[in-house]
Symmetry: D2
Subunit: 315 residues, 4 copies
């Protein structure tokens, strides 16, 4: 009813009345269940599909795991393995030696936005060692050169994040970028329970901090794989969603029969305006996040970094 | 309309239709304007007043400054001086040498809850030096012994915060406790713009993490001065507030005349139930906070620590 | 030749000319090799042995692993398992449900001293959950109650670390304390490569920050298991050791025959005085540590926390 | 006697027997005393002077203050003012609007190496605001565009620090770089008590982490002002210095007359070799630092950031 933001393709798809209905230009794979995880692929295949979904063309893989917020180490190892498997499908890791720049997006000082920087903290960094000691430094069959950067956010650097990454890129010319970012979901139920991996990079307006420019193959010249976990819901989203539910409930309620009728008589545009008027402008700069977000971010940043490490350096 | 939480006495008072109306047992001082700051005192004088306000008896001093969120150093020095002045009114700092335990409540790992720990990071700690080198260590006329503790939160320690403070207290027997905590406000407009200083300590259910037990003279045996700044709004509060506004708007709106009538016909209890049904149970564990909360907490923790330092050790 | 400090019983023992010679009251077990690790036990059995060794009576188990500084996850899992096994020998973990307070000693803000606080960051904390939800909260056969505290250092708190722990102890009455601390070794070769586990607690003067009081069964009333890893060498130790070597080399050197003779003619006391004069008094407050200590502390704190977690909650 | 490292031009100059003797191509200004500070300028004017000093041609300004390690806020404000004054002499801050990139060199995770990153944490960053809102955003007469970057160290990024800075530079084209770095001194007495400001940038081999490449006008294309504070002494330096003193003492000592004679008969090269043999190879990767380095770095990083802020934005 009201324009709300979600960085998850899965949620964008859900807007269209259940996953059975077909949206032209968008394919959704059957869910595959791996142990306690559910893997869904959303493929946006046409420009039309991209327009409807509000997301660029490409593949969006979602890994849902209800217990992901728990601190069970064995379970997280399974998730890491699944991430590694998916990355190996998206990049020719087994076929040649790659140089990969891992970018930890977001603000380390704001807990739900610290996911990217904290993933990078636990990465196995090899580029400098292989360049110094050569291929035999690690005794591996494929010596992938992993480098990383935590570019910070504009309030800290005075620079667009993408200016910084672009600069680093020109000097180090990797084959791939893997960008990690904390995402905004539409529903609080998804927070810390979903991992999205895409080959479309990061779009403007996504992430906790709302990047202004795209980080993708077009802007960077090399393919950009993005890995994200929703850690916040926009405050505007949560409020306007609940209000939509209220209006909907009034329309449905028998007890509120008359009420329902009068609301039904409102134009969609009038309803939207009503809600917009009630939303404090302050809310635009606010987000909603769980009180235990510190534990989730600590746990999940480790799960992702292990997944990437496993993808390039299987034990 | 719906039971919402605020840790600010000023906001609790505002519920009663403007500050002119008298609430029995509660006195509100005329606002005093000091430069760019407004200082208001709410005195809850009777048990009845305490019941109505939902806050214990005592004095609540609120320092409001619209530009507090900005990074103007001179302005923050003025705020620190005002804090120092207020503390000197609440404690006999000029009359005798005091031993004071400063407690930094909250979770250092969650940005809006890190205020207390970060204030303690910048405290001038003197207890160990005066005990070792004696009164002449600092060459001051009054040698106040300042000690501090950051007790952490239950998820980190497995212990009630108050168990830890109580234990430390028994060993070190201070004359006063100063407890610093991040607060929950009702309105996003107050976030990072208001400082509350009270002589009532910390109540159960206040703070970002919702303490279960009171930290006050009764539980601790020594007076507890609490200093707090609102950094979050409960997610439930923000949503139910906006919904109340929606219902109110419907009642008022001419365009929605019929709607208004049908809503007016609902019992208060029915309205509440309607809203309660729509609130996701998830929301109870969520908070709303600004995206630049890292900057505010960094800035304001320094402003408070300087205020306390000035109170005990004027330059 | 000169009084130097080591927190490692193994190094204290080595002063006595090789491990074959017997020191009265001190037994050294045969080294056991477990995979890539060497486990040695030093038992100080009498007061005389304690005096000679400069360490209290009790058992000192040393786990040496040359590759411990490397970042091989499987190898570290083996070390964690060995730590778990040793802890299960020192405490009746299999026999009854225990309440254990894990204490992270040291200064989180000084990298080589942050080991203790960082171990606690990764502990599985259960006390508050079991006390709230009862024995069946985790579905385990033995529900050990783990709590933890990071007391900070005196410059931060104004209190003796032991005052704080004692206070917490009185409130929570655990059956055991496990204290984690960064240690000072005599030799740089041991840094980040040795783990010492003892049932004697922490002695005055040990650790990076030189605790003034003992943390042991006598002072605390409950047994104290200490786990430590050397991360620094005292600056005085490293300088005086090298100078001793210089003097020794001169005595031995054929090229320096005359020199040797004149040095040999000096009394031991004169040699010591010579060295003492040359040592800058500044050195007393300085330590020596490797440039990559951040990586070791990150890696090893995780290895220890996993070891403790495994001891109490086997997968 | 033995080749030891110092990043301070003042110490390099001191090797030449007191500051009165002239070294060709090197000028030393009379010390100026400003309150409690001493300011000395060393000008290396010729290539010959550069060779003798082991430092590139340029100006090295040293600000010595014995009480700099103390936590007196007023005193630190004086130091910040002096830094601001010196920066205004080195850059045309009053003459035109500048774009300046502040680079925080070093490793945030190793306390004595965290100076650079922590200075950047407190910088007033304006580039993005002026570019978005124009000259009148701050209402200042000169709107300097300040941006900043913390490039991290090679073990974290897999890239040369200078690769990263070069990349960022190409995108943002500042007029000046200000690089902040923790330095290595020769003497423990200088640690946390000296600030060096130079217009020569950062040389290979300087800093705690020993940069491999120069960060200067030649490599970057824009002038590089470097601000550094010594926070460590190389372990090799401290040991070999003390040994030199020992040998020197033996030569001088009447009690050790014969000894002195035999040492005097050794060639300089033989003495050096003797010392080199005794130095453990481990020492090359180790540094010496004070136990309270956390307090100094916190305090001094703030003093420097305030100095830079004052230089560009006088209150």
């Amino acid at each position: 009813m009201y324009q709300v933001r979600t960085d998850l393709a899965l949620e964008a798809r859900e807007k269209f009345e259940g996953s059975n209905v077909e949206v032209k230009g968008v394919k959704v794979s059957q869910d595959e269940v791996h142990g306690n995880m559910k893997v869904t692929k959303v493929m946006i295949e046409t420009e039309n599909g991209a327009k409807i979904m509000g997301k660029p063309r490409g593949n969006y893989i979602t890994l849902e795991a209800p217990d992901m917020a728990d601190n069970d180490e064995n379970y997280h190892r399974e998730i890491s393995k699944e991430i590694a498997k998916l990355l190996r499908e998206l990049m020719p890791i087994d076929k040649k030696e790659l140089s990969v720049l891992v970018v930890g997006l977001g603000n380390r000082e704001v807990t739900p936005d610290a996911l990217g920087p904290r993933v990078v903290d636990n990465m196995m960094i090899t580029r400098h060692i292989i360049r110094k000691f050569g291929k035999y430094a690690f005794g591996l069959s494929r010596n992938h050169q992993i480098s990383s950067i935590v570019p910070g956010v504009m309030a800290q650097t005075g620079m667009e994040t993408l200016e910084i990454i672009k600069g680093v890129l020109d000097e180090t010319t990797p084959d791939y970028i893997i960008a990690i970012d904390a995402l905004a979901a539409r529903s609080t139920k998804r927070l810390s329970r979903t991992i999205q991996i895409t080959d479309t990079g990061i779009s403007p307006g996504s992430g906790v901090g709302n990047h202004r420019h795209a980080l993708n193959k077009e802007s960077m010249g090399v393919p950009v794989i993005a890995i994200g976990i929703p850690t916040v819901v926009d405050a505007v989203t949560i409020v306007s969603d609940t209000m939509s539910n209220l209006v909907h409930a009034m329309e449905e309620s028998r007890k509120l029969e008359d009420l329902g009728k009068s609301i039904s008589s409102l134009e969609e545009a009038e309803k939207n305006e009503l809600i917009r008027e009630l939303l404090s402008p302050n809310l635009n700069t606010m987000f909603v996040t769980p009180k235990d977000i510190d534990e989730s971010v600590k746990r999940l940043s480790y799960t992702i970094s292990e997944g990437i490490n496993m993808a390039f350096f299987p034990a």
